[in-house]
C-alpha cells in the first residue's frame, strides 16, 4: 500500500503547493497596522514594474519597499510620513494618485477642461442649428408660393 512511488508522488505534490511559494510574512501588532500596510502597498506603485502596485509586484525593489513600510508602521510612523518618505526618494511616480501641485494641475483637471471645451462647442453648434431652424420655419409663404406648393404636392 505504502509504495515508495506513492510516497514520492505525495512528497512532490506537497512540494508544488502554492503555500511554498515566496510570500512576505510580516507580523504586526494589531489588525489596524495590518490594514494600513495593505492599504499603503496597494496604493503605492512599484517603480520597477511600472504598472503594478507594491502588493502585486514580484520586483526586488517592491519587496524592499514593502519591508520598509512594515518597519515604519511598527516604528509608529503615520501614513502621511510613509508617503512622504517614498515621495522624497521616488517622486510622483510612486503614487497612483499624484499629489495636487502646480505642475500636476493639468493631469487632474485636464479632462474637465476638455469636457467644458467640448460642451461649449457642442452648445454653440446646437444653438446655431436650432436658430437656423427657427428662422426657416418663421418664413411665411405668400399666395403664389402656397399655390405652387399645393401643385407640387398634388403631382406626387
Amino acid at each position: 500500500m505504502y509504495s515508495p512511488r506513492l510516497l514520492l508522488l505525495t512528497a512532490l505534490l506537497l512540494a508544488a503547493t502554492p503555500g511554498f511559494s515566496q510570500v512576505d510574512t510580516f507580523v504586526f501588532e494589531n489588525d489596524e497596522q495590518q490594514q494600513r500596510f495593505r492599504q499603503l502597498s496597494n496604493e503605492l506603485r512599484c517603480p520597477m514594474c511600472q504598472n503594478a502596485n507594491l502588493t502585486g509586484s514580484p520586483g526586488g525593489v517592491a519587496e524592499d519597499l514593502r519591508r520598509e513600510i512594515h518597519r515604519m508602521i511598527l516604528a509608529g510612523n503615520t501614513d502621511a510620513e510613509i508617503e512622504q518618505f517614498m515621495f522624497e526618494r521616488y517622486g510622483d511616480f510612486i503614487f497612483y494618485l499624484p499629489r495636487l501641485r502646480a505642475d500636476t494641475v493639468l493631469l487632474w483637471f485636464g479632462p474637465l477642461l476638455f469636457l467644458l471645451l467640448g460642451g461649449y462647442i457642442g452648445w454653440r453648434i446646437f444653438r446655431q442649428a436650432s436658430g437656423n431652424q427657427q428662422a426657416a420655419s418663421g418664413v411665411a409663404l405668400d399666395q403664389a408660393e402656397k399655390e405652387r406648393l399645393r401643385r407640387l404636392l398634388d403631382d406626387e
Binding site: P47, G59, V61, D64, R89, Y90, G91, L117, I125
Partner: protein
Amino acid sequence: MKKFIFYAPIAAFLALAFVLWRGLYLDPTELPSVLIDKPMPSFVMTTVEGEPVSNADLPGRVFLLNVWGSYCLPCLVEHPTLMRLSEEGEFPVVGVNYRDRRLLALDWLDVNGDPFEYSILDEDGRFGIDLGVYGAPETFLVDGEGVIRYRHVGVLEENVWREVFMPAIAELRGALAPSP
C-alpha cells in the same frame, strides 16, 4: 465666433496629437530622479571588502556612483566603459553593490576586474531606497561637494557617456569655474 468654433476642435486635435506623438518616443522606464541637485544621502556602511565607509570617504571631486550586482547582465555590458574610466583616472567610480551577496560580489570583481574605488555593500537594498534606485545598473553623476547632478538608468554605453555625461560634466565645470 463661427471661425473659433470651426478651428477649436482642429487645434485641440493637433495639440493632443502632438502630445501623444511625443509620448511615443519617451522611455517610460526612465523615471526622473527626485535627488537631482540634492546631497548624497548620508550613509555609514561597509565596503564589499568589509572596510567601514561613510560620506567622508567620497572623492572630493566629480565622480560616478554606479549601482551594480553580480546577477546583473547589463552591468557586464557597461563594465568595459567603467574600466576605461577607472584606468584613465579622471573620474573615480564608486560602486554600490545592490541587493547582492558579498561573496558573489567579490567573485564577480575578481573574475571581471574591479573598476571601483570601493563598492558600498548594500545587501538588503536599504541604501538603494535612499538613492531612489529601482534596479541595477544605474549611474549617478556626483559633484565635488557630494551633490547628485545627474542619474542615468540602464547601461552606461560609450555613446551615453559621450552624449550625456560629458556635456553634463562640462556644464558642471563651467558653473564651478571661478568667474573672471
